[in-house]
């Protein structure tokens, strides 16, 4: 799970060209708004990146709302969709 979270942070930084480091992103910090400050166009780009990298689709706003809450939420979402460990 920790490795997955690290991969997600690397992906976020690379794909969204964030000026931060993986260590500076808290696992439970909100990705949007007050947290990392992402917006809806970032969400669209992130959904494509997640699909390409992890093979998991985020195809609508409801899925996005759940998956993009935080690094923790996104990691849990990816694991659940891959049929690995169910989310806690």
């Amino acid at each position: 799970m920790d490795e997955l979270k690290q991969q997600i942070k690397d992906l976020l930084i690379k794909r969204l060209r964030l000026k931060t480091t993986p260590d500076a992103i808290a696992d439970d910090a909100p990705l949007f708004g007050d947290g990392l400050g992402l917006d809806s166009i970032d969400a669209l780009e992130l959904s494509i990146a997640v699909e390409k990298t992890f093979g998991v689709e985020i195809r609508d706003a409801e899925q996005g709302l759940v998956a993009f809450q935080s690094i923790n939420a996104l990691a849990a979402y990816i694991q659940e969709k891959r049929g690995e460990t169910p989310p806690a």
Binding site: S40, I41, L44, S47, I48, I58, R59, D60, A61, G64
Partner: protein, 138 residues
Amino acid sequence: MKPHPPENPHAYPFQLIDRIDACEIHRYAIGLKNLTANEPFFQGHFPGQPVMPGVYLIEACAQTAGHVIQDGEQPVRSCYLSGIETFRIRRPVVPGDTLAIRAELERHIATLYRFICTVTREQEIVANGILILALPPV
């Protein structure tokens, strides 16, 4: 075939499609554009050597894509081009050309819609790319 206007929210000199030849809501649309020597942008781009500006090709794709995300109600809602993920202009487009512009909805999240767009002239691809449109909430 849909006549045009009034199906499009744009007006002169910014109507970049003449009609919609096919449209399936939330799937795809095909727009048609006939370029005459009188297009306003040919005056300056370039004097004596008219070539359709690349940004107008992008806009023509966006206007076609706009038809895909309407809900069928009138008046047609304005949507905004909010992203150009990638776009390639492969051939010059000149007076006399007829363009078929296909915009296919690939995905959408909330109010953002991602389109795969292809512009062809007599079966030859003259431009293609991926655009993102935003449809503001009513």
